[in-house]
Symmetry: C2
Subunit: 198 residues, 2 copies
């Protein structure tokens, strides 16, 4: 077999470590990179190296270039006194994209999972509770995905907060554009349970 | 919308420039990278920057760390006096993987395409002819993919070489494991044309 340059093989190997990239795709992507202009390649390399320096917003944990992200710094959002708790940055962005929430966020980074050694400290619940107190949050929305661990995390948070704070979890049911025919029984059960009078 | 760090956005943008990567995948991959250890991230970044320094084998054009690749340097392969012409590095690797060819290679990088301004000089045909003469190649195998341009390139090469050199093109027909039911008519016509007596 031909011996390809070490760095080429390395780039292929790193690509295969990314989600959804197999060996063939990695190779195709690497070959495409070899056709890029050196400036672009160097810029890509530099941007990548800078990912080691990423900072998180001190308040909500989102990646940001500033100490506090622009959402946490917004007076309008602060005054809404609503805080939305999400698992990941992508969940956060999905909600932000819906343009239907004008409060602040808190990214857990994970959900409680005792078997994996993820307890309240690992997901920074103390920081969350502290923020709820210091910013006098009135309404906490738990936008945590449905799973055994997600459900437990929600119960834990509800249990730890005084009853004066309204804690709500996002609604579950049939998704827009969804068809009952193709949905799983659990979703249908949830949709029946969450029915609303018209 | 939240302002994400500049470098994060940049990495996402670079990823979307790769084949088969959309915005969502790019974002997912970038987020995954943020979880990598810094050493790995720096190594990835460095390997990427080194792609600007890739060298090609002086004889066959494959990427290599040495002046001449290990296949071109092999005496056994040199003595076979067989040269296989391919379009791309991936085609080269596919043939090498089949372990059925023990001669040397020549990567064109492209096929003749006058409309796109790709003439004999652009794909280094002079270098190919020179090599055929200097290495006294007896058998040239054109492993060029079937297309109008590929066919023209094969005719051109055949036309430019003396009749004493055996020039052959790889066979076309039904692929192994293929089913006539799902094949296009062109492939079936080719398979009929290339029938062999048993």
């Amino acid at each position: 077999m031909v011996e390809l340059p070490k760095h080429l093989e390395e780039v292929v190997e790193f690509f295969t470590k990314l989600p959804g990239v197999g060996e063939k795709t990695a190779f195709r992507q690497t070959l495409q990179l070899t056709n890029w202009r050196s400036e672009d390649l160097m810029a890509f390399s530099y941007a990548l190296s800078q990912l080691t320096q990423l900072k998180k917003c001190q308040k909500c944990n989102v990646y940001t270039d500033t100490t506090v992200c622009n959402i946490c710094a917004s007076v309008e959002r602060y005054e809404a006194k609503m805080l939305c708790v999400v698992e990941t940055l992508t969940d956060f962005l999905a909600i932000e994209k819906s343009k239907n929430f004008r409060g602040t966020y808190f990214i857990l980074g994970n959900v409680l999972n005792p078997l994996m050694g993820i307890g309240p400290d690992e997901i920074g619940l103390d920081k969350l509770f502290e923020r709820i107190t210091s910013e006098n949050i009135q309404n906490l929305i738990l936008a945590i995905n449905p799973s055994v661990e997600g459900d437990a995390t929600c119960s834990y948070i509800r249990h730890k907060l005084p009853q004066t704070i309204k804690v709500e979890r996002i609604g579950f049911g049939v998704p827009m554009g969804g068809s009952l025919e193709y949905l799983d029984s659990l979703t249908i059960s949830k949709a029946l349970e969450n029915r609303k009078s018209l």
